[in-house]
Subunit: 208 residues, 2 copies
């Protein structure tokens, strides 16, 4: 398939019967079978046999994330944004972003945010507010992003994981916003947080 | 691992040797082996054996997307936004979004955008401009989103795929923006496009 945009019939008649689960409704879809195709500590791939909305048999590969994607827009008293730089393996590129990490099922999003900010940067924040949420790629994954604004910062010792070779830098908020507009920041979660905050400031500004 | 946030050593000494590929640098990481763990027409999962930035052996599961995620912010002459409603299987929820679809390797992003808008909604647009790009989930996937603004619309016959049970509605731009802020729109690509346009309008507005 040169342009595999749709879910085509999966073929073999017996294929829909593996997994031995009754058909499960998923909106206008039906799941008639599921197998775990891949699993690691961060993600599980389910390969589902489905009946599509048009009634034809098909497949759906779902990438299930173990963690929520937690992002922190940390602002100091000079209204500068804390950015973290690291190499992103899936894209093989260096990326400047807000501090981010995975929030596990045994902690709240806020607890995860506090922990990730402290681990990656050493900073603690006296004031936290949830800015927003988003489903990052909802045609394939169930990954949910939750992003916070953190102020009243106090520095401390960072404790990054062995996988994290991080740099940090401070940029004025207006510069961080400009970076999201010209591509110097292209990480979706970072853009969502910075642009959300920019819109809230614009809405709060006095009208002409 | 209750909170698998880091890439732990993969264990068996022989594991790093499968795939028979020389070590490949990926920033401060090294890939010493790769196998295709799962593949369907939309995504490939690579399970890589790696040397982490701290020198320890580990794994990296990468979700490689066959297509770019293309989004279209379509505005009519009354400054209303065209929204598409559909059930999103991975989240098992209904979602209102801008028109979106997969852009394949054999077409430009703009060609894909034109095609997706026409297929999903029947609309053609006389004027197109790229609004922005984003890496949707760069710690796990290589999925790239590219989003356009489309104006000077002409209606026609839609030709959705069999997987797409779509509704459409028009909402005033200000309402669409409000939906991205209160969670009625939570799809990241839709939020990125609508909020980007809102920021560009705010920047263009006369100063008080």
């Amino acid at each position: 398939m040169s342009r595999p945009r749709s879910k085509q019939p999966s073929g073999a008649p017996g294929a829909a019967q593996h997994g031995a689960v009754p058909a499960t409704a998923n909106g206008p879809w039906q799941r008639v079978g599921r197998r775990v195709a891949y699993q690691n500590p961060w993600l599980t791939v389910w390969h589902d046999d489905v009946i599509r909305p048009d009634g034809a048999p098909g497949i759906y590969g779902v990438v299930h994330f173990a963690n929520r994607a937690i992002g922190i827009l940390a602002l100091d008293e000079e209204d500068r944004v804390l950015l973290v730089g690291q190499h992103r393996y899936p894209l093989d590129t260096y990326s400047w972003e807000i501090p981010e990490g995975g929030g596990g099922p045994d902690e709240s999003a806020l607890e995860a945010a506090r922990r990730e900010l402290a681990e990656e940067t050493g900073f603690r924040a006296g004031s936290w507010r949830e800015l927003g949420r988003a489903a990052l790629s909802n045609s394939v994954t169930d990954e949910l992003a939750i992003f916070f604004i953190a102020t009243d910062l106090q520095s401390g010792a960072a404790a990054p994981e062995g996988t994290e070779a991080l740099q940090t830098r401070w940029v004025p908020f207006a510069e961080a916003l400009a970076m999201t507009l010209d591509g110097r920041i292209d990480d979706a979660l970072s853009i969502l947080a910075i642009q959300r905050e920019a819109l809230e400031r614009a809405a709060a500004a006095p009208s002409p």
